[in-house]
């Protein structure tokens, strides 16, 4: 098992190779990429930032949970930080397992838990020059907030 926050382009094939094992009958690879549109707006790139020590801890915790729940230690997760262009990979998750079903279930569990729990944030850049923080619940916060109060 291995997790990392990195500031260089991700290499999905290398992570897939890293989880290969002769005891495995299935390997899964998830690659999350920067999409051109979000919430109907045209995106030109995304800045990813993290609360690094906690994000590293939380990533490792989630991977340990997946290992215990699905029965494989062949799991590697890398999340990229910094400014990413359209189409670039922000996260790669590789899993291998003796059987295909738990390999795929572990993959789904990992990405969903990571999206909910790991303290990483993204600020989208739009074609009109505006930038906004967005969250995994679909909300967007204006870059220059001015109307309501925090609650």
């Amino acid at each position: 098992m291995r997790t990392a926050l990195v500031e260089h382009p991700l290499d999905p094939a290398a992570l897939l190779a890293e989880v290969e094992d002769q005891g495995s009958g299935a390997s899964t690879l998830f690659v999350g990429t920067v999409r051109r549109t979000n919430q109907g707006r045209e995106v030109t790139g995304i800045d990813y930032s993290a609360y690094a020590p906690m994000a590293e801890r939380e990533l490792a915790t989630i991977v340990a949970e997946a290992a215990a729940r699905f029965g494989t230690t062949h799991i590697v997760v890398e999340h990229r930080l910094g400014t990413l262009a359209l189409g670039e990979a922000s996260i790669v998750i590789a899993v291998s397992h003796a059987r295909r079903a738990p390999a795929m279930d572990a993959q789904r569990f990992l990405i969903e838990e990571i999206k909910q729990r790991v303290p990483i944030w993204k600020r989208e850049h739009y074609v009109d020059g505006e930038r906004a923080w967005t969250d995994n619940a679909g909300g967007a916060v204006p870059a220059a907030p001015d109307a309501l109060s925090a609650s």
Binding site: H79, K115, T134, D135, V141, A150
Partner: protein, 78 residues
């Protein structure tokens, strides 16, 4: 007690990456959020969670001097 609180994303844009907060001994996570929400009054910010020593903390958790405390706005990894 005096706490250095780390802020991220929209909260960092609004108040800076780190703020100093004076709270009474025995203060809870909810007290910290109330204090910081007051400072951000007038700005649109999402409700944050709070991490104490790199773990998510309940709103009734007591904060101790020397804890590493961070406000965690809604996350967006993946």
């Amino acid at each position: 007690m005096r706490l250095n609180v780390l802020l991220f994303a929209s909260w960092s844009d609004a108040l800076g990456p780190q703020v100093v907060v004076d709270l009474p001994e025995g203060a809870r996570v909810a007290d910290l959020v109330t204090e910081l929400a007051g400072r951000a009054s007038g700005k649109v910010l999402p409700r944050p969670l709070v991490a104490v020593n790199h773990r998510y903390a309940r709103s009734d958790a007591v904060i101790a001097a020397g804890d590493e405390v961070a406000l965690i706005p809604p996350v967006a990894g993946g």
